[in-house]
Symmetry: D2
Subunit: 216 residues, 4 copies
C-alpha cells in the first residue's frame, strides 16, 4: 500500500474557501485503490507552511507527497514542473508577511524540478476526463515557496520521498459571475485520484516521453 | 404543473458531443419540483433547427421554452438578453450551409429580447453555486438563429409562450488540455434547474432590477 | 469631399484618458485623402451624449458619422454590427446616472443595425496592418446607448446620413502592468483612417460578402 | 559608453516575421543615449541558437546582453526572471528538432536567474508608457533554451557579463483579426530602450525592491 500525503492551503486573499484543501480532503476521504492517503492543511504563510509540511511528512512517513494550491484563472489542474528559489509576494500572506525577492532557502539551488512523473500525471487526469496540463511556473507566492521547499526537503532530509506540486482552479462558488474558469472540487478530486495512481506506479525517470512544452 | 420544453443542439464543428444537449437531457431526466420538462435535440442547421423547434412546441405545448447552445470559451452559463436578425456563419452548419449576412426572418424586426426574466435566472443559478451571467450577444451562428427565431415564433405563432436562450460552457472532456474553461454537464444541469424554477415563477416584466450590464 | 463626423467619449470609470477621443482627435488632425473630418467629444452620460451627438450632426451636416468608444480588454478595433434598445449600466455614468434595463428610446425598435459597411471597414483596417474585427455587442452602457441612438437619429431625423459605432482598445498608458491588451492611439487612428475611406466609398448594401460571424 | 548586444529570433511556427528581431533591429538602429547597441539575429534552433549567441558575444564583447523572443498572446513586454534547465518542444524548431524533457546543459544547475535588474527594467518601460511585467516562465522552447543558456555562458565563460531575456508581444500584422494582443515593434523598441538604459545603470543586486510577484 503506497502511503500518500496530500496537502492543501487555508483560504487566502480574502477568499472563504480554498479549493486545494477542498479537493485534498475529498481525495483523502475517498482515496484511489491501493493508496493510503492522509491530508494536511498548510497555513498560507511563508516559512510556517514548510514547517507544517515537514511535521506532516515526519508524522505520516509517506512514499509520495502531493502539495496543492489554488490558481484562480487557470481552467484546468496544472502539475508544476519546477519550483524556483525566490519569494516575491504580490499580496501579504496570512500572517502579513510579504517578502520581496528573498530566497526560499538562502544559498539553495536556483530551482528544484518535481520528482513526480508530471507527464504521466497529466495524461492520467485527461484520461479520467479532467482538464489538465503541465505548468512551468508555480508563481512566486506561498505555493512556489512550498513547491521549492518540498524539493529541498526531499533533497536534504527525506531522500526516499517523491513529490511535487499541482495547482487547482477556482471552485464555482468563488466565481459566481462566471467571468473566470472554475471546476467543482469533486471533479478536481476525481482527477487527483488519477494523478496519484499514475504517480505511484511511475518513477519520475520513467515519465511519459510526450511533449507538454510551452513556447513561452 | 408548468410545462417546459428544453432544447440542446447536436454536436457541431467537429465535436463528438454537445454539452447543451448533455445538460438538457440531464434536466429532463431529473426536472426541478413543480415542472414537467421535455427535451428536444435540435439539428445544428439554419432553417431546420427552427422547423424542429416549432414542431417540438406544437407537440409539447409548453408554457416555457429554454433553448441551449454551446459557447466554448465562456466560463459560466450565460443567459442571452437578445437575438438579432442576422445569420453570419463563420463555419458551415451541419448541412454545409454557410449564410453570410442573411436575415433570420426577411423583413423581421432587427432583434427580439428574451421573454425570460434574465436577471432572476442568473441570480438563481449563482444562488445554486453555478457561475452565470447575462450575455448581450448569442453570436451570429445557429444559436442566435434559434434565439431570434424563438422570439419570432413567440411573437407570431405562440403568443402565450415565454422563452429564451442560454449558452453553456464546454464540457471537461472537450478541453482535455485545460487551455479553456469547462464545467461538467451535471453542474450545468444543476444551474439550469434553478434557472427554470426562477423563470417559471417570474414574469419577464417582474425581472430583478439589478445591473448585469456590460460597458462593451 | 465626403464630410465625416467622428466622435469619442470623455474619460470614464476613473480613467484619466479615453483612447476613443485620443484616436478621434488624431484622425481629425490628419484626415484620410478626400475626407473632411470633424471631431466631437461626447459626454459619457446617458441622454446627454445623444443630445450632443444630435447637435454635432446639425452643426456639421456630415455624410458619414463614426462614433467611437473604449473597450478595455479587446485586442483590436471592433466595428459594431448592432446597437440594442436597452440601457443597463454596470457602473454609473459621468453624471452618476445608472439606468437598469431602461430602453434607450421608449417604444423604439429592439435594435438598429449599423449603416456602415462593417465587413469592408474591418478588411480595410486589416489591410492597413491594424487588428480589427466585427463585434456583435456594443454592451449596454453609454457606448451602446450611442450606437443605438445614432441608428435612431438616422432613421428618424437624418435619413441621408450613414453611420455606425466602433470600439477601440485601451491605450498602453492605461495598462502599464501589461495584463490586458492595448494599442497606441496612433496605431488605432491609422486603422480608423482606412475604415473611414472604406466607409466613404462603400454603401452598406454593397458591403463585402465575407463571413465575420461568431458561433457565440 | 556601455556596449550592448541585443538579439532577436528568426520567424518560427509558420510566421513571416518575428517581432523580437523587428524590435531588436529598431533599437540597434536608434540606440538610447550612452549605449552602443549591436543586434544579432539568432536561429530558432536548439543548440545552434546558443552557438550563435556565444559567437556574437565573442565578436562584440558587450557589457550587457538582452535576448528577445516572441510571446504571442502576452499583452506587454515581459522580462524573464529565470531560465530553467529543460527543453520540451511543443513544436519542432526551425531545423526540425523537437527535444522532449532534455536538459539545456547536461548536469547544469536546475535554473539560472537573470542578472538584469528585472524590476528596474519593468519600471523603466512603464515609465516610458509601454506595458511591461516580470514573467516567471520563459516556457520550454528555444526562448527558455537561450534564457538558460545565456545564464550558463555568463556563469562559465563570460563572468564580467550581465544579461537576461525578455519576451515581446505579437506585432499587429501577426493578429489581423484582433483576437489576441499585439504591440507595434516601434512601441516595443521604445520600451526596450528604457529597459536597456535602466539595466545599464542598475546592477542586479541593486534592483528595485518592489513586488512584481505572482500568486501562481
Amino acid at each position: 500500500m503506497t502511503r500518500v500525503l496530500i496537502t492543501g492551503f487555508a483560504p487566502f486573499g480574502g477568499e472563504r474557501v480554498n479549493p486545494s484543501w477542498q479537493a485534498a480532503s475529498l481525495v483523502a476521504a475517498e482515496p484511489p485503490a491501493g493508496l493510503a492517503v492522509t491530508a494536511a492543511e498548510l497555513p498560507c504563510v511563508f516559512g510556517e507552511s514548510l514547517d507544517a509540511l515537514r511535521d506532516a511528512i515526519r508524522a505520516d512517513n509517506p512514499d509520495l507527497v502531493l502539495c496543492l494550491g489554488q490558481a484562480g484563472g487557470r481552467p484546468g489542474v496544472t502539475v508544476e514542473r519546477v519550483g524556483i528559489n525566490v519569494d516575491d509576494a504580490r499580496i501579504p500572506d496570512n500572517a502579513g508577511g510579504q517578502p520581496i525577492d528573498e530566497p526560499v532557502v538562502p544559498d539553495g539551488p536556483a530551482a528544484y524540478f518535481s520528482t513526480l512523473p508530471v507527464k504521466a500525471c497529466v495524461a492520467a487526469m485527461r484520461e479520467a476526463g479532467v482538464p489538465a496540463a503541465v505548468s512551468n511556473t508555480a508563481g512566486t507566492f506561498v505555493c512556489n515557496h512550498v513547491a521549492y521547499g518540498l524539493g529541498h526537503l526531499i533533497a536534504t532530509e527525506f531522500p526516499h520521498l517523491r513529490g511535487g506540486f499541482a495547482h487547482v482552479p477556482w471552485a464555482p462558488e468563488q466565481v459566481p459571475d462566471g467571468t473566470a474558469p472554475a471546476l467543482p472540487p469533486a471533479t478536481v478530486a476525481h482527477g487527483l485520484r488519477a494523478l496519484l495512481a499514475a504517480a505511484a506506479r511511475t518513477p519520475a525517470e520513467q515519465d511519459l516521453k510526450v511533449t507538454e512544452g510551452a513556447t513561452h
